[in-house]
């Protein structure tokens, strides 16, 4: 299969841009190969919605240069500006890394490709996400115009969270962002990212994020995405967890536009652990597909998935949860729960929990539910004077609470409560 992508760039343009940015030769080749590969690859696999018609690629990768921190960005920034990275339209506007002296690298990928090329080469689409996984992953490599590189060296346990804010502020623009997060052996880190865009005009956000948790390291990954109605979003996040490593995802999928996300974790080392928690609120006529998957390769690995979603208006969301316990991953445990609450007649939700088990000596379990809001609950709340909206708001908070309250990062929790508030109003 080969499709016509009508991209504005060709091999030469890709090379020209990468050269201008001072990228190493291997990267330029990788980009060009990915560009050639893209038309031969399929879109990401989704269930029960059609994404063929979504325009993932129309936006221009040439983004205007903007500077400074907007008031909106300021509200996202917590107390700590000294371990903060902000990019607007893919270009850095704030980069502080108070941990640099301890060997921590926290910078744009562009900068890392110049100053830490070996490290980037080791991790860029090698063990994590593959260039040929799907068309949009390939395009991410080819057209990347923004990115992050976070590296915490062996044995260093960071207590402060490293925060990043990425905005796209251009109508008909496209951000191809590539993040790499590495926690080297025995290290610990917390990373929080916020993707933000604005407006109803079409734009594209294509994110590939690879998280590497080396032996006995620990990563808390928090993400709150609030991409605007005009955005068509592809968000592919991958964790690779080595022996005894721990990865916790705390995700708020709060986009207003069409969205496909993939959040996969490969538990490759023995006794590796992952916990994926996500909430979403869909509204308007947006369609979303969330794939969450844990692959157990190592022995004694544990993977948990918990997703709660609320659908308003005529929003549609499909949740596909997969726990795959591969042959040899004995004594492993995979547990997942997906719950969807629909607030209106026109909202659609679907939860598909899948357990794939290729090993005898394991534990696994799943639960899923899709249901409409209980009219009697609303009646009860309204009988105390709450308006229907307010009653719905409480029920929604209550429904998301079991996930939100368990999120491991307080600032993500607070931010999410705010965003949920805004979305259910």
């Amino acid at each position: 299969m080969t499709v016509e992508l009508n991209l504005a760039v060709n091999r030469d343009a890709v090379a020209e841009r990468a050269t201008r940015l001072g990228e190493p030769a291997w990267m330029i080749t990788k980009r060009q190969d990915a560009l050639d590969l893209a038309p031969t690859l399929a879109l990401p696999k989704v269930e029960k919605i059609k994404i063929d018609g979504w325009n993932f690629t129309e936006g221009s990768t040439e983004l205007e240069n903007v500077t400074g921190l907007t008031a909106d960005i300021e509200t996202l920034v917590g107390e700590n500006r000294d371990h903060l990275l902000v990019t607007r339209n893919g270009q850095v506007v704030h980069a502080q890394n108070s941990e640099a002296a301890n060997g921590v690298i926290f910078t744009t990928l562009e900068d890392a490709l110049k100053n830490h090329a070996d490290l980037v080469e080791k991790y860029f689409m090698t063990e994590g996400i593959q260039v040929n996984e799907d068309r949009l992953a390939a395009l991410n490599a080819a057209l990347m115009n923004g990115g992050t590189f976070l590296y915490v060296p062996k044995g260093l346990k960071l207590t402060v969270p490293m925060q990043a804010i990425y905005t796209l502020e251009q109508e008909h623009g496209a951000l191809y962002h590539h993040g790499i997060i590495v926690a080297d052996k025995d290290s610990e880190l917390t990373y929080i990212e916020n993707f933000v865009s604005y407006g109803d005009a079409p734009h594209n956000v294509n994110v590939v994020t690879e998280v590497f948790v080396e032996d006995n390291a620990k990563v808390l990954f928090g993400g709150v995405d609030t991409l605007a109605k005009g955005a068509v979003t592809y968000m592919n996040r991958r964790g690779v967890v080595k022996q005894g490593g721990k990865l916790e995802w705390a995700l708020g999928h709060m986009n207003d536009g069409h969205t496909v996300t993939d959040t996969k974790t490969h538990l490759v080392g023995n006794d590796a652990f992952s916990d994926t928690k996500a909430v979403t609120v869909g509204r308007g006529d947006q369609k979303q597909n969330f794939n969450v998957r844990t692959d157990h390769f190592g022995k004694g690995t544990e993977g948990f998935i918990l997703i709660h979603g609320v659908m308003k208006d005529s929003a549609t969301s499909i949740f596909n949860g997969t726990s795959m316990i591969h042959h040899g991953a004995s004594k492993s445990n995979g547990v997942q729960t997906e719950r969807v609450l629909m607030l209106s007649e026109k909202a659609r939700g679907d939860a598909n929990p899948i357990l794939l088990i290729d090993e005898d000596d394991v534990m696994a379990g799943h639960a899923a539910s899709v249901g409409r809001v209980d009219e009697l609950q609303l009646y009860y709340l309204m009988s105390r004077g709450l308006s229907r909206k307010e009653a719905e708001r409480l029920v929604v908070h209550g429904f998301l609470q079991p996930v939100v309250s368990e999120l491991a990062i307080d600032s993500v929790k607070e931010r999410l409560i705010q965003v949920i508030e805004g979305k259910v109003k």
Partner: protein, 260 residues
Amino acid sequence: MTASHLKIEDLHVAIEGKEILKGVNLEIKGGEIHAVMGPNGTGKSTLASALMGHPTYEVTSGKVTINGEDVLDMEVDERAQAGMFLAMQYPSEISGVTNADFLRSAINSRREEGDEISLMKFIRELDSQMNFLEMPGEMAHRYLNEGFSGGEKKRNEILQMMMLKPSIAILDEIDSGLDIDALKVVAKGVNDMRSPEFGCLIITHYQRLLNYIEPDFVHIMMNGKIVLSGGKELAHRLEAEGYEWVKTELGIETEEPTEA
């Protein structure tokens, strides 16, 4: 006219096309406590639910006003705002929403934007009412009715009533499932509300509750109608003799329960 005045005239209510209430007339004024008694399935909860605006109860004819305002025209929340309160026979459970958060939202829903109750004042009031009702403080932080025992739910309904200070309260079997101490506590709550600005309709099967909350009027409901009204002595007679005499005296044929 007093500030609290609920007037029900010839109320007919159907559920799924079946007529349950067949013309109920009742007037409750501030300062009055009315008790409604009657055999199972005669429409007592239907009356309470229809008054509050429960979605599955269809008012087919009749009129209900609170302080002169048409209740049947109001949404459920508007009825509450107008001063009505229903302690439900089977309160809903709302997971993830704490009792305290819910109560604060409910109080604020009656106040203008910008005039919300201060957190301190709210906590003080909640504390004192919970003390009064002998409820452990941690119940404020439990999810609304989730996992509450039958008796705890009833107490929680009374707590809501005391916090929201309605002008007309309808208590549907607030005594069912209560142990004797809880019964006294609940009665204490209702008696504490007694004032010329507060009217109350108590639905109960048992005289015992009425020993603690002395009613001004007792009504007997049968087959979807109030068939007999009197003073508190009526309740005593029911307790002693059951409902047979009412039927005989009034010549009422009770429907077979299976009959449509």
